[in-house]
C-alpha cells in the first residue's frame, strides 16, 4: 500500500516492541490475563533479555516500515541476568545520539521498563507511545526508498555487505580471495 | 535571596491583614523575595466550584496563566492562604490529569487572550517553602527573642495538609512542619491532637450551629492542654476561631478566651519585631496577655515537694515500672520535635 493511499485513511501507526522473556513479555501476558485493553498497533517480539537487543533490530524495523519501536525490559537492578538490561539502556542512549541526524523523532524509539507485575503500566505506556507516534504521522521508510528509485525486492541485497564466504561455502570457492594471507597460520 | 512568584489571596487584604503585615517582616530575615502576580483574581474559595465547575477552574487558571506569563527565573508560585494554595495546586493537578478539562479551560482562557499549560508553574505553600528551602537552621539563626515559656497549640486546619496533591507534607493527619517551626522559634509546642481538624469553614455562614460546635472543640482542647494561644497558617481558621469565638461562647454559655495568631506573627516577634509591626492587636480575642510571657522571666514551676506530691511521684514511678513499653515513633529522638 502506498503512502498516498494511506493518507486518505486515518493513520494507524505500527509499533514493533522488543520485550524480554522475564519481565516485559510477562507484563504483556499479565495485561492479557487481566484483560487490560491497549492499542492494537503494537506487535511484540520476545527476546530472552533486553540485552539481546542489537540496534540493528531497531533500525531494521524502522527501515522495514515500522513507525516506532518500543524497547522494554526489566527495571534496572531487577534483570533476570543480573544487569544485562544496563546494556539495553546504554545502547538505547547511544542510538538516540544518531536518530536526530537521520530525522527520526525521539518519540519513535522509546525505552520503557516494565516488571512482570506491571501489565497495567505497560499497557498504559503502549497507549501513550502509540498516541505520540500517531501524532508524528507515518514514517514510511520503505515507500521513501522506493520513491528514490532504489532497487528492493528479491535477489537484491537492500542493505549491508553480502555474506560472501561466510554463507555456505560453495564447492571450489577460492579461499584466497577472502582470507588475508599470513594472518591465520 | 530566593525568589518566588506570590499569590496573596483576597483575605490578605482584609480579614487577614495581620498575616500580610507580619509576613512582610519575616521575608527579609529569611532571605525570601516574593513577587506578587499582577492583577490576580479571587481563587473562588470553596464556593465557586459548588456552583459551576468549568468557570471555577477557568477562574483559578487565569491566575496560573498570569503566573506562568510572569515566570522569569522562577516558576514556583507561593500561596499563603490555605484555600488559595489548595485551589491553585489542585487545578494544576487536574489540568494535568484531564485533557478535556485542560482543553476547555484553555478555550475559556483564550477568550481573555490567555493560555496555560498544566505544570508550567509549581504551586507551594509559604510554610513548606520556609521549612524546605530556607530551613530550620536559618530560622533559628534569625531568632533574637526566643518565645521561651510561651505554650502554643499549632493548628493547620484542613486544606494545607489535605488532600496534598503533590505530596509535600509529612502527614495528612498529623504533619510536623508547624510544630518544628514553632519549636525553632523557642516556643513550647503542645501536642495538639486537633491540629488538622476542621474550623467549620463556611459553616459559620450557612449553618452556624455546626460551625460553633467545631470551633468549640478546637478552643476547648487547646484550653484543656494549657495552651496560651493557638497558632495557625490559615486566614479562614483564624477568622473562625477568633472572630466567632464570642458568638461561640454565647451559643454554648462558655467563657473561653483562646487567642489565635498567624505563625508569621510569632516569627516576626521572635525575629525581634514589635507587636504592632506584626499586626498584634488586630485579633478580637486579645493575644497580649499571653504574649506578656515573652521576654519576661518565666516563673519557676518547681515548687517544693509536699508529702502528697512525693507519694504521687513514687506511685507514678511504680506505675512506669510495670508499664509495657511503647513503640518508638519517627522523630522521637529529634530535639526539635513536638513535645
Amino acid at each position: 500500500m502506498s503512502g498516498e493511499q494511506v493518507a486518505s485513511e486515518p493513520f494507524e501507526p505500527v509499533v514493533i516492541g522488543f520485550t524480554c522473556n522475564w519481565c516485559s513479555y510477562r507484563a504483556a501476558d499479565l495485561a492479557g490475563t487481566a484483560r487490560i485493553k491497549y492499542a492494537p498497533n503494537v506487535r511484540l517480539i520476545r527476546l530472552m533479555c533486553s540485552g539481546r537487543l542489537d540496534p540493528t533490530f531497531i533500525l531494521d524495523a524502522l527501515a522495514r516500515g515500522a513507525d516506532g519501536v518500543l524497547i522494554s525490559g526489566c527495571h534496572p537492578g531487577e534483570c533476570h541476568y543480573v544487569d544485562q538490561n544496563l546494556n539495553t539502556l546504554r545502547r538505547f542512549r547511544m542510538l538516540e545520539r544518531i536518530l536526530p541526524a537521520l530525522g527520526i523523532e525521539p518519540q519513535r524509539v522509546q525505552l520503557v521498563w516494565a516488571s512482570a507485575a506491571e501489565g497495567t503500566q505497560l499497557a498504559h505506556e503502549i497507549d501513550r507511545m502509540v498516541e505520540e507516534v500517531r501524532g508524528l504521522g507515518p514514517l514510511d521508510w520503505p515507500a521513501r526508498m522506493a520513491a528514490a528509485g532504489g532497487r528492493t525486492g528479491p535477489g537484491v541485497s537492500p542493505v549491508g555487505w553480502p555474506a560472501g564466504s561466510r554463507g555456505e561455502p560453495e564447492p571450489g570457492a577460492i579461499k584466497g580471495a577472502t582470507e588475508p594471507p599470513g594472518v591465520h597460520a | 535571596m530566593s525568589h518566588y512568584l506570590y499569590y496573596p489571596g483576597c483575605s490578605m487584604e482584609s480579614s487577614a491583614a495581620a498575616y500580610r503585615e507580619s509576613l512582610e517582616t519575616v521575608l527579609g530575615p529569611l532571605g525570601i523575595r516574593l513577587e506578587e502576580i499582577d492583577d490576580w483574581n479571587c481563587c473562588g474559595a470553596t464556593e465557586y466550584v459548588g456552583i459551576s465547575l468549568l468557570p471555577a477552574y477557568a477562574l483559578i487558571a487565569r491566575n496560573l496563566a498570569l503566573a506562568a506569563r510572569q515566570a522569569d527565573g522562577t516558576r514556583t508560585l507561593v500561596a499563603a492562604c490555605s484555600a488559595c494554595y489548595l485551589n491553585l495546586a489542585k487545578a494544576d493537578h487536574y489540568l494535568q490529569e484531564s485533557r478535556t478539562l485542560a482543553a476547555n479551560v484553555n478555550s475559556a482562557l483564550g477568550a481573555g487572550g490567555l493560555a496555560y499549560r498544566a505544570g508550567s508553574v509549581t504551586v507551594r505553600h509559604l510554610l513548606e517553602v520556609i521549612i524546605t528551602d530556607v530551613g530550620l537552621d536559618a530560622v533559628r539563626a534569625a531568632v533574637s527573642r526566643p518565645l521561651s515559656g510561651l505554650r502554643v497549640a499549632p493548628y493547620l486546619g484542613c486544606m494545607v495538609p489535605r488532600p496534598d496533591p503533590d505530596h509535600r507534607w509529612t502527614d495528612h493527619e498529623r504533619p510536623r512542619e508547624l510544630d518544628l517551626l514553632l519549636a525553632a522559634l523557642g516556643a513550647e509546642v503542645v501536642d495538639y491532637p486537633l491540629k488538622t481538624e476542621c474550623c467549620g469553614g463556611h459553616m459559620t455562614q450557612i449553618s452556624p450551629a455546626i460551625g460553633f460546635e467545631l470551633i468549640r472543640r478546637l478552643i476547648a482542647e487547646a484550653t484543656r492542654l494549657g495552651a496560651d494561644l493557638m497558632v495557625t497558617v490559615c486566614p479562614m481558621c483564624q477568622m473562625n476561631v477568633d472572630a466567632f469565638q464570642g458568638e461561640t461562647n454565647r451559643h454554648f454559655g462558655t467563657h473561653y478566651r483562646m487567642p489565635i495568631l498567624f505563625y508569621t506573627q510569632l516569627m516576626g516577634l521572635a525575629f525581634g519585631r514589635e507587636a504592632r509591626e506584626v499586626g498584634i492587636g488586630r485579633e478580637l480575642v486579645d493575644a497580649r496577655p499571653a504574649l506578656a510571657r515573652i521576654g519576661l522571666p518565666v516563673p519557676s514551676t518547681a515548687a517544693e515537694e509536699t508529702p502528697e506530691t512525693k507519694a504521687a511521684r513514687i506511685e507514678a514511678a511504680h506505675r512506669r515500672r510495670q508499664a509495657l513499653p511503647m513503640p518508638p515513633m519517627p522523630g522521637d529522638a529529634r530535639e526539635e520535635g513536638p513535645r
Binding site: 494507524e12 505500527v14 514493533i16 522475564w22 510477562r26 501476558d29 495485561a31 492479557g32 490475563t33 484483560r35 485493553k37 491497549y38 492494537p40 506487535r43 517480539i45 527476546l47 530472552m48 533479555c49 540485552g51 539481546r52 542489537d54 540493528t56 533490530f57 531494521d60 522495514r64 516500515g65 515500522a66 533476570h80 541476568y81 543480573v82 544485562q84 546494556n87 516488571s115 512482570a116 507485575a117 499497557a123 514510511d140 520503505p142 515507500a143 525486492g153 528479491p154 535477489g155 537484491v156 541485497s157 537492500p158 555487505w161 553480502p162 555474506a163 560472501g164 561466510r166 591465520h184 | 486537633l194 506505675r319 509495657l324 513499653p325 511503647m326 513503640p327 518508638p328 515513633m329 519517627p330
Partner: protein, 691 residues
C-alpha cells in the same frame, strides 16, 4: 549459491535447509473456545495464511477449537506424518503457557521439537483488544512473524543437567520447617537457613491458632524439634544467604554464619548466661516490642537450636571490654568471645524460599494513634499479651501493665484493602480478629467490638468460629474506623479511646469509647524481599510479594527453574495453607531429585573462532563468567555450561562472531519482517492495522 547476505531477504530462503530447498510449514490457529475466536476472526486468519503465506512455505493451515486438546495435538502429529511438515507454527496462547505442549506434539510425530514456534494471539491480542477487525489484522501480522521466524529454526537437543540431591530451604518458619522435614524424611539432605537465632518464625509468637484454638507452641514445638534433630537436616540459624550462583541442579550458595560467641559443642542450653547477663534490651522481634531480652539470649524457651547467641551490638563486653558475666557463670565454658563470622558455601540442586512476611506498621496510619496513644496495640503485641509465656504471663492488660480493659475495640483491615497502603486483602485478619475477640472475652470478660468492612471466613471451620464468637456476645459494627482519638466530647468519653466510625448498617456516625484498641494489622512482604528476589533471580509483584510461575496451576514454582516458594513469601496465607505449600514445594523438589537430571532449553551463545578478532569487547559482559579469552589463540570462547542464554554478548560482538541459538539475528530479523508484513510482496506493513 549463498543467500547473498547475512539476513533473510525477500524470497531467499536463507537458513532453511531442507531437501527441496523450501520449507514445509504447517500453521495452526487456535480458537481457545471464544477466548480468541470471540475477538479474532480465526477462520479468516487461517484462510489468509493459506493464501498469502503459501509462497513463504506454508503448505497447510488449520483452525481448531482447542489446539492444546489431545485432538488438536493429533492434528499436528497427523499433518507432520502425512504432509511431511518440517516446521510448525501454532497461533494460540503465550509460549509461557503451552510451548512445551506443542513441542511435545511435534516430538511425538518425529519432528525435532525446536522446529515448532508458538505465537501468542490470546494474551497479546484477543484479550487486550476489543476491535475485532484490528485484532484480526494483528493476528495475521503475529502469525506472519512466526512463520518467518520458524523458517530459521534449527533442530536442537535440550541440555541435560545433573541434579544435586541436596536442597536449600531459606526461612525457618512453619512453611520452611515443613518443606525441610518432607524432603529429609524422603531421605535427602536439606540445609535450613534462618536469620534469627532459632527456627519457628511467627507461629512461635502466637498463643492460640484459629479456628481450633490449639496452643501454637504445642503443635509447633514437635516440628521444630524434629527439624533440629533430623539426621538429614542441617540447621544454619543466625545465618543469611549472601550469594547464589549457578542454576538448577548445581546452585552454589554462599551463607554468612554470624558468630554466636557460643561454642555449641560445649553449650548445654542451661540458660544461666541469660540469667546472669546484666544487659536488658527491648525485644522488637520475638516480643514485638512488648518485652525484653538479654544481651545473650535464646528468643524463647523452646528455641531450636537450644544454644543462645550473644547480640554483639548489645553486649557490655563488646561495648567497653568489661563484664563477661556470662563467661564467668557458664558451667561448661561455652562462651567464646573470639568467634568470627563464617562464610559457608553450599552446593545444592534446588532451593525453596520460605522467608515469610512482616506485620504492617500501623504508625503509618496517624489517625489510629498507634505509638502515640498508649492503649492502641498491634495484633502481634496482642498475641504476646495473651500468651502465657509472654511479658505479662498471659494477662490481657492495658499499657500500664496492670489494668484489665473493660471494653475493647478490634479494627479489621489495618493497612489492607486500602490503596493508601496495601490493596490486597491480608486473608488472615478476619479470623485473627475473631480469635482476639474470643481471647479477650476469655481472659477479661470485657465487652468487645469488632469493626469490619466485610467478614471473610472462607475455609474449613472458619465460619463456625465466627458463629461461636457471635454467640459469645461480641458486638460487630460494620464500618471502617475513621479515627481513634483521646479527645473527649462527652463525659463518658473522658479518659477513653474513642473510635469514630460510621455504622454503615444504620447510616450514622458513632463514637464508641473503649479502653483498649487492637489493630488487626495486615501482612506485608519482608522489607528485603526485593533483595532476596534479585539474589535468587526471581521477581516481585507490584505488591512486593514473590511471583509464582503460575498463580493457579503452579503456585510453588517460580520463573527460575529449581527455585521454589512456600508460605507467605508469595502472599498472605494462614497456617494450613503455608504447611500445604511447604509440602507441595518439597514434592516438586523431590520430583527433580528423583529424575536425577533435568532437560533445559538449549539457548546458548557460541563464538565462531575464525571470525572472532579477539577484540575482547564481550569479555566483561557476561555476569555468569561464561566467556573466557584464550590468550594462545587470541579468541574468546563461551563455556556452554555457564552460559544462561541472555544474548547480550551476541548483540555486542562487533565482528558478528558471536551467535545464539533460538534467538539468532536471522530469527529475530525474520520475525520483524514478518510482523511488518514486509515478507509479502507488494504490501507494506500498514495493511495489517488499517485493513
Amino acid at each position: 549459491m549463498s543467500a547473498g547476505n547475512g539476513r533473510p531477504a525477500g524470497a531467499a530462503a536463507a537458513g532453511v535447509a531442507n531437501e527441496a530447498g523450501r520449507p514445509r510449514i504447517g500453521v495452526y490457529v487456535c480458537h481457545c473456545g471464544t477466548n480468541i475466536a470471540g475477538t479474532v476472526d480465526v477462520a479468516e486468519v487461517r484462510r489468509w495464511a493459506e493464501e498469502r503465506l503459501a509462497d513463504r512455505g506454508v503448505v497447510v493451515a488449520r483452525d481448531y477449537k482447542f489446539m492444546c486438546s489431545s485432538l488438536g495435538q493429533e492434528l499436528i502429529e497427523k499433518d507432520v506424518a502425512e504432509l511431511g511438515l518440517d516446521r510448525v507454527v501454532v497461533a494460540a496462547c503465550s509460549p509461557h503457557m503451552h510451548e512445551a505442549t506443542f513441542r511435545g506434539a511435534c516430538a511425538r510425530a518425529g519432528l525435532n521439537p525446536y522446529l515448532c514456534e508458538l505465537v501468542s494471539i490470546r494474551e497479546q491480542d484477543s484479550w487486550v483488544h476489543t476491535d475485532g477487525v484490528a485484532a484480526t489484522a494483528k493476528a495475521r501480522a503475529i502469525l506472519s512473524g512466526g512463520v518467518e521466524r520458524v523458517r530459521h529454526h534449527e533442530p536442537l537437543e535440550p541440555l541435560r543437567v545433573h541434579i544435586n540431591p541436596a536442597t536449600l530451604v531459606v526461612g525457618g518458619g512453619i512453611a520452611g520447617i515443613q518443606t525441610a522435614l518432607e524432603i529429609a524424611d524422603a531421605g535427602f539432605p536439606v540445609y535450613l537457613v534462618e536469620r534469627e537465632p532459632s527456627i519457628g518464625g511467627h507461629m512461635a509468637q502466637f498463643d492460640k491458632t484459629f479456628p481450633t484454638l490449639d496452643c501454637s507452641a504445642c503443635i509447633l514445638t514437635p516440628r521444630m524439634y524434629s527439624a533440629g534433630s533430623h539426621p538429614n537436616v542441617r540447621l544454619l540459624t543466625w545465618s543469611e544467604v549472601i550469594n547464589v550462583e549457578g542454576f538448577v541442579g548445581s546452585f552454589k550458595v554462599t551463607v554468612l554464619r554470624k558468630a554466636r560467641y557460643i561454642d555449641t559443642d560445649l553449650c548445654t542450653g542451661c540458660g544461666i548466661c541469660q540469667e546472669k547477663c546484666p544487659r536488658k534490651i527491648l525485644d522488637v522481634v520475638y516480643e514485638a516490642g512488648l518485652g525484653y531480652r538479654k544481651g545473650v539470649y535464646t528468643p524463647f524457651p523452646q528455641a531450636v537450636p537450644k544454644y543462645p547467641v550473644i547480640d554483639r551490638a548489645n553486649c557490655t563486653f563488646f561495648d567497653n571490654g568489661k563484664c563477661k558475666a556470662c563467661e564467668k557463670f557458664c558451667p561448661t565454658g561455652a562462651i567464646d568471645f573470639e568467634q568470627q563470622d563464617e562464610i559457608v558455601t553450599l552446593e545444592v540442586g534446588n532451593i525453596v524460599l520460605a522467608t515469610g512476611y512482616e506485620l504492617f506498621d500501623p504508625r503509618r496510619i496517624a489517625q489510629y494513634g498507634y505509638g502515640r496513644l498508649a492503649n492502641v496495640f498491634t495484633s502481634l503485641e496482642f498475641e504476646r499479651l495473651s500468651n502465657a509465656a509472654g511479658p505479662t504471663q498471659g494477662r490481657v492488660v492495658l499499657r500500664d501493665g496492670v489494668t484489665e480493659p473493660r471494653t475493647v475495640g478490634i479494627i479489621h483491615c489495618v493497612g489492607s484493602r486500602d490503596r493508601n497502603f496495601n490493596n490486597y486483602c491480608s486473608a488472615i485478619c478476619c479470623m485473627q480478629s475473631l480469635k482476639f475477640a474470643h481471647l479477650v472475652k476469655e481472659h477479661t470478660g470485657a465487652t468487645v467490638y469488632e469493626f469490619y468492612i466485610d467478614m471473610r471466613t472462607a475455609a474449613k471451620a472458619y465460619d463456625e468460629f465466627y458463629q461461636r464468637v457471635l454467640e459469645e456476645g461480641t458486638i460487630f459494627v460494620r464500618g471502617k474506623v475513621a479515627e481513634v482519638t483521646e479527645v473527649a466530647r462527652t463525659p463518658e468519653e473522658e479518659g477513653k479511646l474513642v473510635l469514630q466510625v460510621e455504622d454503615t448498617l444504620i447510616g450514622r456516625q458513632r463514637r464508641i469509647p473503649v479502653d483498649m484498641v487492637i489493630l488487626s494489622c495486615g501482612l506485608e512482604p519482608r522489607h528485603d524481599t526485593k533483595k532476596v528476589a534479585q539474589l535468587f533471580g526471581i521477581s516481585c509483584s507490584a505488591d512486593g510479594w514473590l511471583i509464582e510461575k503460575h498463580p493457579k496451576l503452579d503456585p510453588v514454582a517460580t520463573m527460575e527453574e529449581g527455585v521454589f516458594i512456600a508460605g507467605c513469601v508469595s502472599g498472605p496465607k494462614d497456617i494450613p495453607t503455608s504447611v500445604a505449600q511447604g509440602a507441595a514445594a518439597a514434592a516438586r523438589v523431590l520430583g527433580h531429585i528423583q529424575q536425577g537430571e533435568l532437560a533445559l532449553e538449549p539457548i546458548k551463545a557460541a563464538v565462531d573462532p575464525d571470525v572472532c578478532s579477539g577484540c575482547r569487547i564481550c569479555n566483561g559482559l557476561c555476569p555468569f563468567n561464561a566467556i573466557t579469552f584464550r590468550e594462545d589463540r587470541m579468541v574468546s570462547e563461551v563455556n556452554p555450561a555457564l552460559c544462561q542464554g541472555c544474548g547480550t554478548c551476541v548483540a555486542a560482538c562487533p565482528a558478528g562472531a558471536m551467535s545464539g541459538t533460538c534467538f539468532s539475528d536471522e530469527q529475530i530479523l525474520a520475525q520483524v519482517e514478518g510482523l511488518l508484513l514486509a515478507n509479502l510482496q507488494g504490501t507494506a506493513g500498514r495493511e495489517a492495522v488499517s485493513a
